[in-house]
Amino acid sequence: MILERLVIKNFRQFKGEQEIIFTDNREKNVTLIHAENGFGKTTLLNAILWGLYGHKGLTPDFEGKEQLIHNGLAHSFRKKPSELEAMVHLTFSHDGARYMLSRKINLAQQLVDPRKDRIDLETLRDGQTLNLDRPQHRIQAIIPEAISKFLFFNGERIDELGLDKNRGQVTEAIHQMLGLKLLKSTIEDLNSPSVRGKFRKELADKTSDEKRELIDQQAELEGKQEQANKKLSTTQEEIQAIDNEIITIEAKLAANKETHELQAKRAQLQRQNGELSARAEDINKRLAKLIAEDGYTLFTPELVAKGKAIMKDLRSQNRIPAPVIDTFLQQLLDEGKCICERCLEPGSNEYEAVKKKLSDAPDQDFNNAVSALDHAIGILEGVAESTRENLEQLTKERAELTTHIRTIEGDLEDIHQKVGSKNDEKVKELEESRRGKSLKRDELTSRCGSLKKEIEIAAEAMSKLQSQISKMEDLEDKAALAQRRVDAVEECTRLVSELLKAETEELRPLLNKEISEHFSKIIDRDYRAELSEDFDLRIRSWIGDEDDERIEQDVALSTGQRQVKLLVFIASLLALAKRRSEIPTILKGTAGSEYPLVTDAPFGNISVFREGISRWVPNLAPQVTILLTPSQYDGDVEKALRETGRVAKRYYLAYNGPENTLRQGANAYLTVEGKEYQQYFKADEEFTEIKEL
């Protein structure tokens, strides 16, 4: 999807029709929108989201979601509400076709239910405009809502995407953008009770009692798993809703001058805590893997020592390796001559003596086994040593993290006490509500953990049953056919899962390489990005001077570095998705696609990295639209963007309103590239206009 044109009408402070034409040039791919704080950047971002997804697409920090129509006009039209409407019209291209999307809501509808609106989607085909049915469904197919957070976002809030609780959304976005969602949904559908379950039932109806019993057990487990999956998904949705409520409460606490500082400190500690917890979880996983795979070696030193002593003893007795092997003695007998030059005539004493030795002599395999045993003992000693070292290192890291997390939790509790003991009743109420919601969220998170375990156990048991069922033969034709169909569903599920695994495993290093390359360039350090198997993005670096003492560790990033990490991750993902859209795939529909990036204030907290971000993000993403304040633009950003030569279009938001409503610190004139533009106009009514530079 490449954005072409946005028209907004009467949407919040944008009165009348306003238009933005986005650049669609792949080399000059940046559209800049300059605006002072409070002039409408967030509203503009939300206008795009509302156009695409309606009310549920609006961001959590967009207040007053129930009033989308311009306030002043709504007041004037209060007696004829059906004559006033707000509208967002978005023209975009996707996979070679052009689409025109319109979403409208009139005042009468806004008063009844602002969640309901009217959406139309048209496409141009062979010079003709066609109205498409199921427009919302088609928009979801072109640009699924699950990835919108990664494409249209407020740069200052981007940190939230990096939190552990949002890892599922990261995985989903990767799957969506790289075209792997198709495989994922296919696996889920094949596994559903109305596909696999139905075929199993048909098999159960036509097969032996013994097999039927196993199939019934399998169906029962499947039902339990399905139920647990549903519960898990509902619980995760509940957590998301609570998180949004907490965000709103915390925004209110941050806006209150009594609690502003404490809330800022809390936000910082929460971010730190989230990152440390994710690292602790990762260490736990690595510990579990280490113990499961190599843990046994820790109990082997005594055995290894004993084995070595036995080997040494046998060696001293000259019993290993065998000095004479059977093939050598057989050769002497065949040749009829001993190495001492005596004749070995069959029946002679000499012949019989050698023949007797032949029956006792070991073969070449014996000596091979001795070498293998030496080698295995050596390896076992090495693995035991490295396992012990790794275990010590990971345990130490975990202990440090736990201490750190406890300290942060203590600090967070202090902040809670301080905020809760403020004299302001409103603050107390907000803090109390925040506490209640946090406790509820913790309870739900714990429930998610139990449900995941339940699902895992059921899956394991089902897999065992499946293998037993497949081994039981059917004599009846009908039963055999039913079994073949069950097997086909199972086999296709296995194949599609393998394809998904292979594609993911091959794309992950490419994404890692892309992210590492650009992250290191921007922050100027030798760091390596590592997207783990479960899509946790960590930044690693080597510590220690000597080569043999160097170990790789997670880097504790600053707030600015974390934002850079996520921005680079998103831009790299967009670059990879675009490249993937340009090459043929073995299965149609599993290609990537082009997506736009629209970001509000991407340079919020990244201070020294602004220059690098402005230089590299437009180089990766196919189309970039940046909304930014004059202070964010001035200096490094301006210079870097000019040097890239990628800026093709520029707009600014001009505020109209009474003098006393102009935000403190906002200038009446905007200066861009040395030229001044009037951005504040005195008017009786408040509204914002979009002007092209």
């Binding site: 197919a141 075929f199 086999e491 296709c492 394809l499 795939t585």
Partner: protein, 61 residues
């Protein structure tokens, strides 16, 4: 776009996995994916489940 990184095309491993399947199963997967393409983002799954069921019955005889 940077030219340095290799385009992520279908690898031998991915091709190998798909081609290791019997022709019957390859055909079934293609038919199912064809149906899935348009509905992968929909939350209502009953129609696609019926279509997959029909494809399995039609192709596995």
């Amino acid at each position: 776009m940077p030219e340095t990184n290799k385009a992520p095309g279908p690898s031998d491993r991915v091709k190998g996995i798909f081609q290791s399947a019997s022709e019957e199963h390859q055909k079934l997967i293609r038919e199912i994916l064809k149906e899935e393409r348009d509905v992968q983002h929909m939350s209502r799954r009953s129609d696609i489940h019926n279509k997959i069921y029909d494809h399995v019955r039609r192709l596995i005889k």
